[in-house]
Symmetry: C2
Subunit: 377 residues, 2 copies
């Protein structure tokens, strides 16, 4: 899932994302709550209407950003007080208010409010944090069940203002010049996923998984990783946690990873992943190719007439030379960010397509060995 | 002609420019000479190959930028010494070196090196400046005639390195992953246009036009306008100058203008115009619509579900709401620049399409009256 923090995958128009084959985007509740605000998004029909994206969307709970962007946060049983990175204003997220925000944003998949345990943490601290996340998971589910029909595209609860119906209410009107947004029937709601915590402790991970499943969600995420631990430890925790999660429900590993990592975790059984790496690296001129990473800012590419990745079929590799991409980056041109992001997303989505293809063919091992034989970045 | 200063229309991929119907782009010799440098562009096949743009390109002579960006320039009979805005290094442009640069950049249309007379200027100064431009026009043409076969896509003079020919020289190879660049036959060259100066003095404009025509070029530009004079004066000078320029050759008015102005100048007989206004205004959130200018940053658009311009068929107006465009701009998101620029270019190109259509129908007056009846921005 490409990350579209404030309802945009930085620099890439939505129709290009569609062409790339993006099936689902991630939005960040923390950022959207601060700007443009939940009420604005709700009034525009939720994120789908607001950002003109008819495909799937997932929002995180806001918890991770509160923990990673806020040094002044204050955690209590009730929730978290934090300061806006935009203007320093004080805000409060509880399981209930995080659900309220995510229902208003109207993504297809939303996440329980959790505490992301810091790394390193001792066993007592890890267990206490896990218990808090479990209590918050129950409160998240309770609020969601009581309010899930308030999602903005649920027409039965939230009739669209009659100004949007030219004939007075019978037919949804075109929004923004032609696109018809199909409104909910009054029966569809979002899906709330639970999040497993437990730090680096495999026993606590098992307990967290089992007790989260007991609460009951249509999908489960593994949170609290990629927080500074060594990569081998990540893999160990992922592998140990996965065996306690139902294989017939989506298993979502949050916040990973490199192309090699997403192949590896998919092979372990992870179904969903999100990461800022392809888009953020693109903005820094770091490009993923079949031949390893390319730092396009390097002078060695200044007169290189070849494509960025000769094996890539994306619109960037089909049209532009490394010399041109290098020039755009060196000149600090906006098109550098646009083209670099399109390519990196294409590389990631291609990787996942190959993973899916490989799974369909039942040839995971052959696929993996071919991946590992490629030069390492 | 949209302006693509350093071989990119800021923020817009080339395929979107093609979809918009852009027939010709302008590149700035001054900027390209400084970065990435003429030799780099030449080695990549000229601007067409470098920026992967198979349609037409025009480069200015560098003169205007030297005058507008350089407070420390020093003009002599020989040429102009100036400092780079990038690193302060010292450079020299003469008619000969400006031609050499433009031949290396390989645009389809290139411009004689001229002095853009400052505004205001008295008659003596204006005449002296006009005489200098005339002498430089002769030198520009002389150098061009002697070196025009050195254009990088002229295969007879500049065979493409054999590495680009997989079969050793018979066939042009795909560049950057698939596009075949058709190389010159050895007979095609660029077109060098002359520039009429003469300040705001209609007699000097007439003299400049007649003596530039005497030197002889395949097209003529009107330079030295949009330099701070009142708009009525611009129109007066354009109208007076046009009657001395051959109607069966392209007449190019440099550096204008607003949508209303380009319609007006086209009705006077101008064939070509370039301006940074649509792209620069877009970056500042100023958008042109059939109902006048829209400053998308305004809070009044924060929850506006309607399209930017209900009468516009561009991909931005067809998909996104004003609320979303306002959010992108307020959040300082790169996509704001991309989408705003696409819309403004679409508006300008639509305007020119309507102008051409109107000319074809012989209904200029009817078209103009319908334009003037629209609300003024």
């Amino acid at each position: 899932m490409p990350v579209g923090t404030v309802a945009t995958v930085k620099g890439v128009p939505q129709d290009i994302l569609e062409e790339l084959g993006v099936q689902i985007l991630l939005g960040n509740t923390y950022h959207l709550y601060l700007r443009p605000g939940v009420e604005t998004v709700r009034q525009l029909g939720g994120l789908h209407g607001f950002m003109a994206w008819p495909r799937a969307i997932l929002t995180d709970s806001g918890g991770f950003q509160v923990f990673s962007l806020n040094e002044l946060r204050k955690v209590s049983e009730e929730g978290v007080t934090f300061r806006s990175h935009l203007d320093g204003s004080s805000h409060f997220f509880s399981p209930e208010s995080a659900m309220e925000a995510q229902i208003g944003l109207g993504a297809d998949i939303i996440m329980a409010f959790d505490e992301c345990t810091e790394y390193p943490a001792d066993r007592a601290r890890t267990k206490a944090s896990m218990e808090l996340t479990l209590r918050w998971a129950e409160r998240s589910k309770k609020y969601f069940e009581e309010h899930k029909h308030e999602v903005p595209w649920n027409a039965a609860q939230y009739p669209v203002p009659s100004t949007q119906y030219p004939d007075g209410g019978a037919t949804p009107a075109p929004m923004a010049g032609g696109n018809i947004w199909v409104l909910g029937t009054g029966y569809s709601t979002q899906s709330l996923f639970g999040i497993v915590q437990g730090g680096m402790d495999l026993e606590l991970r098992k307990e967290s998984a089992e007790r989260t499943i007991e609460i009951g969600f249509p999908g489960y995420a593994i949170g609290g990783l990629s927080v500074g631990e060594p990569r081998e430890r990540t893999r160990e925790v992922v592998e140990a946690t996965l065996q306690h999660l139902p294989a017939d429900q989506p298993r979502y590993l949050m916040g990973v990873g490199t192309p090699e990592e997403i192949v590896e975790y998919a092979s372990l059984g992870v179904d969903m992943m999100d990461c800022v790496l392809p888009t953020r690296a693109a903005r820094h001129g770091l490009l993923f190719t079949a031949e390893g990473k390319v730092s396009i800012k390097q002078a060695r590419y200044a007169q290189d007439a070849g494509p960025l990745d000769p094996k890539c079929g994306c619109r960037v590799c089909q049209r532009y030379s490394r010399a041109y991409l290098r020039h755009l980056y060196a000149s600090n041109e906006v098109l550098a960010q646009v083209l670099n992001t399109v390519h990196n997303l294409s590389f990631y989505l291609d990787t996942m397509r190959r993973v899916r293809h490989s799974i369909q063919l039942g040839e995971e091992s052959r696929f993996l060995s071919s991946v590992w034989s490629r030069p390492k970045p």
